[in-house]
């Protein structure tokens, strides 16, 4: 019986295995060979997998130099096919004025490198490599590395560092070192306002001068951090002794939209100081007009959770805050102590959302946005949105008599262009809220105007010029988003927010002058309309907090029967 024989063989092998494990030293060649078969194979298989992952990862690693003499330099990693990559601000600091440097890739070639956006507080910078052969058809296609999730890391997990320590990479192939995660959520004090590493990843992988700015990889080949600091022993000088630190990729993701927009990104502050009182974390000081105060927090409140993370110590609080950008929405949960006469009452829990205000750099840095590049990013983002959402620009937008019609070409996977018309006609299904002016069966002009405004870049490719700008990123429903803003001549500002990795439209806001985002449109589930994918439901929240939901009732595949009054594109 085959099965029985299999079991018998297992038994014999298991016994021999056990015997081998009991044997102590001495002549073990026979047993070595017995173990060596499947044992060696298992170790070789794991080794081969690691080699393959690191070989692919190495193609995304950049050796960065401030000049062609290449006597000093750091490292970086490409994160997109069009050549954008991450490094440390202190690596780019060598050429922050000219914004021009050089990047060497493992193909042995040196490329021109342009500094795009900087985050000095977090010691991060975004660059772009150029110089791919123009003769080739199509856009540049650099090898790049995917981003991982630094919140999923575990101490003791294997990680790899790739970079250019001591500028040993004469041919720009990166140095590979292997180690484990030694600690998470570590804090390293800064020097001035630079190089403060909060919530950083501590690793035992060898990190030496020159590794700065380079990637920390997990063994799936995903970037989980950017290496930038190490602890050095005085007696040995600046040479690795087993402690390196990397900025976590989840922190960097929040700054990516602003970096890509070519901006100087600031970190944020709530405007409070926290103190440990017994087992509780208390707001010990609160600045007037600070985000905390405006959100309704008070002196003496006990901090329970910030941004979803329960906190127990001031260190944890500082660690977390330091990873957040200015203007970031932060949910703060506190327990308000009961009033002095409310004996026996436990405090009540208060949930507040605050928007962080910018934390100024101690030594201010002047960094002007390159508007041409910024506008190119808006165009790039709208392309991404189109491609991911099967939409294509149309060339006609008309509205009238309470109806919005736009026509265009929907492009599906088969790349066949088919015309469509979407007429959104009353009656709209109006639910909720008590929005003034909404008449059953009608669409108030103001809402129609807003909707026409928010559709602009989604339906027709606008001329991206004066008034347009890509801003710092934001967070909507837990997702990091790009923010594209358009300022109209009457002071109105419209902002579109697209998901960082998906380019899905998450939110559109309207505001007037300096006020914060006042009217918020949130798209709901995306529905398919023939070849068109478009949110079927929209939720509009106004200044007073009233909500209005709209649902598209009809999709028409033929041109509207009556000619609509044509309106100029806004």
């Amino acid at each position: 019986m085959r099965h029985g024989r299999g079991l018998a063989i297992s038994g014999v092998v298991a016994a021999a295995h056990a015997l081998a494990l009991c044997a102590a030293g001495g002549e073990m060649d026979e047993v070595d060979r017995l173990i060596a078969g499947p044992t060696l194979r298992a170790v070789r298989t794991d080794e081969a997998r690691r080699i393959a992952v690191l070989e692919k990862a190495a193609r995304a690693v950049v050796c960065i130099f401030p000049d062609r003499e290449r006597s000093s330099g750091g490292s970086g990693v490409l994160i997109s096919a069009d050549g954008y990559g991450l490094t440390n601000f202190h690596v780019a600091g060598g050429f922050v004025e000219t914004r021009r440097g050089y990047g060497g890739l493992s193909d042995g070639r040196l490329y021109p490198l342009r500094l795009v956006g900087v985050d000095p507080g977090g010691d991060v910078a975004l660059f772009k490599l150029e110089g791919q052969d123009r003769a080739e058809a199509g856009p540049a296609a650099f090898d790049f590395a995917p981003l991982g999730d630094s919140d999923a890391l575990e101490v003791g997990q294997w990680v790899a560092v790739l970079g250019n320590p001591f500028t040993l990479a004469e041919d720009y192939t990166p140095t590979v070192t292997l180690g484990v995660i030694s600690g998470l959520h570590r804090y390293q004090e800064g020097q001035g306002n630079l190089l403060e590493y909060a919530d950083c990843i501590q690793v035992s992988t060898s990190i030496n001068p020159g590794n700065s700015g380079g990637p920390l990889f997990d063994l799936e080949g995903r970037v989980i951090g950017i290496n930038g600091r190490a602890s050095f022993a005085e007696e040995r000088g600046r040479v690795n002794v087993g402690l390196g630190y990397a900025v976590s990729i989840n922190q960097i993701k929040r700054f990516l939209p602003g970096l890509r927009a070519g901006r100087l990104c600031s970190h944020g502050t709530l405007g409070i100081m926290v103190r440990r009182v017994g087992p509780s974390l208390i707001i010990g000081a609160i600045q007037g007009l600070s985000p905390a105060e405006r959100a309704g927090l008070q002196l003496g409140d006990e901090l329970l959770e910030v941004a979803g993370r329960p906190l127990r110590t001031p260190n944890q609080y500082n660690n977390l805050l330091a990873t957040l950008p200015a203007n970031w929405p932060v949910r703060v949960k506190v327990r308000r102590p009961p009033p002095l006469d409310g004996a026996g009452h436990p405090g009540r829990e208060i949930d507040a959302v605050a928007r962080l205000e910018p934390l100024p750099l101690r030594t201010p840095l002047v960094y002007t946005v390159d508007l041409e590049h910024n506008h190119a990013q808006i165009a790039w983002l709208l392309d991404e949105f189109e491609q991911r959402n099967s939409m294509r620009v149309s060339d006609r937008l008309s509205a009238g008599r309470g109806a919005l019609t736009w026509s265009g070409q929907a492009r599906d996977d088969a790349a066949a262009a088919r015309p469509f018309w979407v007429t959104v006609t009353p009656p709209f299904d109006v639910t909720g809220g008590a929005a003034a002016g909404v008449r059953a069966g009608g669409l108030p002009e103001v809402i129609a105007r807003e909707w026409a405004g928010l559709s602009v870049p989604l339906v027709s490719r606008p001329a991206i010029g004066l008034g347009w700008e890509m801003l710092d990123g934001d967070e909507v429903a837990g997702e990091v988003v790009y923010v594209v803003e358009r300022r109209l001549s009457d002071g109105q500002r419209v902002r579109w927010k697209f998901g960082l990795t998906t380019a899905v439209l998450r939110q559109v806001t309207f505001s007037q002058g300096d006020e914060a985002e006042a009217i918020v449109w949130t798209p709901g589930e995306i529905a398919t309309w023939g070849e068109l994918r478009w949110p079927q439901t929209w939720l509009r929240r106004d200044r007073a907090g009233a909500e209005l939901s709209l649902e598209i009732a009809a999709y028409v595949a033929e041109p509207p029967a009556e000619p609509s009054r044509e309106r100029r594109k806004p």
């Binding site: 003791g156 180690g179 484990v180 600690g183 959520h185 570590r186 602890s231 040995r236 087993g242």
Partner: protein
Amino acid sequence: MAAILAALLMAAQRASTDHERAAGPFADAIRAAQQRVVKLYGGGIGMEQGYGSGVIVSADGGIVTTISVLLESPSLRVVLWDGRKLEARVTARDEARQLAEIQVDARDLPYFEPGRSDHLQPGDWLIFAANVFKVAEGDEPVTAMVGVLSGRATLEARRRAQDFVYEGPVLLADVIVATPGSAGGALLDADGRLVGVVGKAVISKRTNTWVNYALPVEEVAAFLRREATPALNRVAGAEPSASGIASERTVEVAWGLRLFDVGGVVRPAFVERVRVDSAAARAGLWPGDLIVSMNGQALATCGDVRAALAKLKAGQRATLVVKRREELVTLEMAPEAGPQ
């Protein structure tokens, strides 16, 4: 039926963990280590650090660490894995092993059972956990690193200008443990058992480099049992002088040989003459021989030979390897009549 189910269940369990790739392979051992390693704080002096590590060896608050200026501090304190800060007092010191035991007022602490390290072979995984560079504060977990056992050796080291007192067996670790704060930290095997306690950072006299080592857990256990270390049991003919080493020629006279000592920095141990009927003569030592090693230990200078002879215990033989012309010759020197 139940048997088949049991078998299938086990197979299924295995299959599901096969897909679990997120967990670090050393996670369990590291967690065990982080709970049983404490952060130590006190006053530092000059270049000496004001912080270090210790390992919990008993549930009621016994902690082992290395001897350092920290222990002199009146404000010696221990921070446990959960952030509790406790005052500590020194209850025992072992100058030979450079270990100390301190006590905190606590109960039901997780602790390391005394174990063994002799099952380890070079190449076996080691986990190192300590308060390195005091990166971790409060209840933040101590630093963890992974390496292998490099080998075993007898420590011969110095610290600043002085010879390091401990000259016994050590585990050599292939992970950097010669860093501020690491002394008193734990070395564990892959199963999470304590196999060594990291010693004070010293420079090996053999390689002139900072050496990554730990005292084997057997030495720690012996310390806890208050056993004296054999390293200090120097029983030999020559009385140690006040400086601790045999005076220049006494030990040579005792064995019946005279070294040709030209002075200077490098003085190879050529034999100048041999006394008739002495232990050296009976061993077959000739004038002109160059003593290269004794009992397996290489001897580069006259001073090395004298020190090695002085370290021999009563009745111990010396196996000498000498270079005679172009050959190496092995000689057995036995102190039959005993050194005079």
